[in-house]
Homo-oligomer: 316 residues x 2
């Protein structure tokens, strides 16, 4: 060719770009549980879920000689992650690397075609500015550390063959990098989600955890006054407060101790707002152990609201 | 984020784009031999070589059940190949899939950082319009089929553990797809390279093959009148002729039977034109068996001319 053709990725010609949702958080913070209900609700034909922990630069054996853990950005192909997030957000397919958690090996990559909605969950999806710019909605999962440690010990012992001592040692080894690279992402979330028991209450042990959602004014949240705390509605209330860094924020509390009938009213009210016309899917609120949680279901409904709202605005 | 940020791949901010050279051709057409000399000459710190046969969609076991061979576009991630060629041409890194020829398996991908020059060789780099648009210089290797079959039998038996009968059966099986997908790429090459013995001559068996280079007017070729065929220079001559499809083309013949001293004059003349100031690298013209070929060396020098010329024009 006599002159280089200035070529563009084909984004423009492909029609709609997908709606991109990030779910960031530390290991065992609940990312997969939150994601699974959303994918089941919208359907795998409309939603693609991508885990960015697959962008490990080193396999488990290689990491043994490194001065950092898998949480460290240098342990991951951050630049390729950014590139792939950009491609997905433009509606382009990617050939995604795959890390096999059961063997600790990097294996054959897989083709990912973005659907109408893309959920990107993992340790570092909000680490860089370019990565953050790819998302329409950003979520950070922020459970109390005590609870997260307990969840990680349960999962890694049951599913990945470790002993509790090994998991505790690993948590300790990872703590400086959690503080340096994972937790600072909280700052960039439109919604910070914290599942925890309510302090000072003595509910029965099988009471679902309550949820606190910090709703930052970086996106437009749904108007919820008709289902907020009053004589009839005890399931949720909203408080204006300052975040730990002093920034103003709305804190939405969803109570786990409220009877299912009262939660149902709230779920139904948000579900109707989505305008899909069908009944509330049973996959919402499902926990890893098969039980269900209304605060989780309501959190997922709010995220569905944002996904469908962003989709509608793009279509308009 | 309240509105989606229209984001761009960072191309613009990274400085110079690499010069991109495609070397297309059928299996065992001599792509690796031609590429190796160029990489050794410019140095791995300045040149990246990529083989696009790594973009296989299926591994060897999966291909057994398919109605096509590895040559078929449907057997390859053509869309991802296009995407990666675009990224490389913009100076962006890629996480390239890797096909292990020794085991027939798809394995862990590898990071490829484009240097000043990128050579992309393989079966289908010129198959689509978008792929072709990524290259500054395109080459098609077009040896006589008889010779290519001989090379493929030699290589696949020596290096990949097949018997001659197996290779012959595979060549027969692939022939319809070679005709349908590989050979049509010849049409899109700026330079078509054919190594072959000169018809009607009875040179000793160790005489290097002569080369015929079709120089299409799609790029600016160097002015070579001072080293072309006359009383003093027998190594090369240039003939205006029509290609098999009737299109006008310059055919440059480089004779393998000419004594090394005469070839040296031609090599020196082209080398000086490159303006690098050093001496001709011994890696030029090296064949797979360790012997050397002046026609190959002169072909590589012409490609070096084009690479450095494109690089100079981009810098200007």
């Amino acid at each position: 060719m006599p002159h280089r053709i200035v070529h563009m990725l084909r984004a423009g010609g492909r029609g709609r770009r997908p709606v991109m949702l990030a779910i960031a958080g530390d290991s065992a913070a609940g990312k997969t549980t939150l994601t699974r209900g959303l994918v089941e609700c919208l359907g795998a034909d409309r939603m693609t879920a991508v885990c960015v922990d697959d962008y490990h630069r080193y396999d488990r054996a290689e990491r043994r000689d490194k001065p950092f853990t898998a949480l460290h950005p240098d342990c991951n192909y951050i630049e390729i992650m950014e590139q792939h997030l950009q491609l997905l957000s433009m509606g382009e397919p990617i050939l995604k690397p795959v890390y096999d958690h059961s063997t600790g090996e990097l294996v054959r990559p897989e083709l990912v075609q973005p659907r109408d909605f893309v959920i990107v969950e993992g340790l570092l999806p909000l680490h860089t500015r370019l990565a953050r710019a790819c998302f329409d909605i950003t979520v950070y999962l922020d459970p109390p550390e005590r609870l997260r440690h307990q969840w990680k010990i349960q999962r890694d012992c049951a599913k990945r063959g470790y002993t509790p001592e090994q998991v505790r040692a690993e948590l300790k080894r990872r703590e400086p990098e959690s503080a340096a690279y994972i937790r600072p992402q909280r700052r960039w979330a439109d919604i910070v989600v914290r599942f925890a028991p309510v302090a000072g209450r003595t509910d029965p042990p099988d009471t679902p955890l309550s949820a606190e959602l910090l709703l930052r004014p970086t996106i437009d949240h749904p108007e919820l006054s008709d289902v907020l705390d009053d004589a009839e509605h005890r399931a949720m209330h909203l408080r204006l407060r300052r975040d730990t860094d002093g920034r103003p924020v709305d804190a939405l509390h969803i109570h786990g101790y409220v009877p299912p009938e009262e939660c149902q009213v709230v779920k139904k009210a948000i579900w109707e707002r989505l305008g899909t016309g069908t009944t509330i899917p049973s996959s919402l609120g499902r926990l890893a152990d098969g039980s269900t949680s209304d605060p989780l279901a309501i959190t997922q409904l709010l995220l569905l609201y944002h996904l469908l709202d962003a989709d509608r605005r793009q279509a308009a």
